[in-house]
């Protein structure tokens, strides 16, 4: 299926170790980290890989989200997402 934007919420208290572990799981499954917060991560992920991320013991919830352009900080979020995404994309010119 297609790549979608998801919020991956942590199960317990925030810790760097938990956050890194979940980010690593997302990257292992071909996902991209768009924004990291204390309570979770916003990531771009393929639909078919959601169960693999959901199975991480520190993940409390994985749910699809969309960006509402009328939101108070939608344009800022969009820039943050794009900036973080560009750092992870591997561009090959042949």
């Amino acid at each position: 299926m297609a790549m979608q934007m998801y919020i991956v919420a942590f199960k317990g208290q925030f810790s760097q170790e938990v956050s890194r572990g979940i980010q690593h799981r997302i990257r292992q499954n071909g996902g991209y980290i768009l924004m990291v917060m204390k309570t979770g991560v916003i990531a771009a992920l393929d639909d078919s890989r959601v169960p693999q991320v959901e199975s991480h013991p520190d993940v409390g919830l994985v749910g699809g989200v969309t960006l509402n352009p009328r939101g108070y900080a939608a344009d800022r979020l969009q820039k943050v997402f794009a900036e973080n995404l560009s750092k992870q994309l591997d561009v090959r010119i042949e």
């Binding site: 749910g63 960006l67 939101g71 108070y72 979020l77």
Partner: protein, 206 residues
């Protein structure tokens, strides 16, 4: 002979449709519950939002250096000065903003275009063969006083019938799941109150 109509009538279409509709309804409820749980997560997830960054440009004249680092002088022996610029930055106070306020909305999903396809193949073959073998043998002999004769005959009749009848069927069900905008009744309303003029309240909803 095969009765195609009877075979088709035996397909439990009603039950199949009911089972599929029931499964879709259960899945839809589960998906909606999940999305509503997500609204709570988004409404309680905050991040520090910096509303503005002010960058002020002020002139910063500076003399131009010449050879060996000495100030460059013009024809009147005055130092050559260029107008530089200094940028001073003031970052506004941050305040907590929820992801929902910021513009991250939960995705709601809806099932569309559900299809049930039943394929049935009915094959019937009938084969019959008959063989008939008739034979007559006559023998006769005669001598001086006696004469004898015999007649024998045989009839072999073989009949075989082969009859085969097979029905094979397959069914497939498919449905499409599409993301839809959040239903209004499931999304919170935002009341924006201007503290300087509390009579002016704007209400918005995702």
């Amino acid at each position: 002979m095969p009765n195609v109509g009877a075979e088709l009538a035996s397909v439990p279409f009603g039950k199949m449709i009911y089972d599929m509709a029931s499964a879709i309804a259960r899945s839809q409820v589960a998906l909606d519950k999940s999305s509503i749980a997500l609204v709570k997560v988004l409404a309680s997830t905050t991040f520090d939002y910096v509303p503005d960054v002010v960058e002020t440009l002020t002139p910063l004249p500076r003399p131009v250096k010449g050879v060996n680092g000495a100030p460059l002088l013009d024809s009147n022996d005055d130092p050559v000065v260029v107008t530089g610029v200094q940028v001073s930055t003031t970052v506004g106070d941050s305040f907590p903003l929820t992801l929902l306020q910021a513009g991250v909305n939960p995705s709601f999903y809806q099932f569309t275009n559900s299809t049930i396809e039943v394929k049935m193949s009915i094959t019937s073959t009938q084969e019959s063969s008959n063989t008939l073998d008739v034979g007559v043998s006559v023998t006769a002999s005669a001598d001086f006083l006696f004469a004898s004769g015999s007649v024998s005959s045989h009839v072999n009749f073989t009949s075989s019938n082969k009859y085969s009848y097979s029905v094979t069927g397959s069914s497939s069900m498919s449905t499409t799941l599409v993301p839809v905008p959040p239903p209004k009744n499931m999304m919170p309303r935002f009341f924006l109150v201007n503290a300087m003029d509390p009579t002016k309240i704007s209400i918005s909803q995702s």
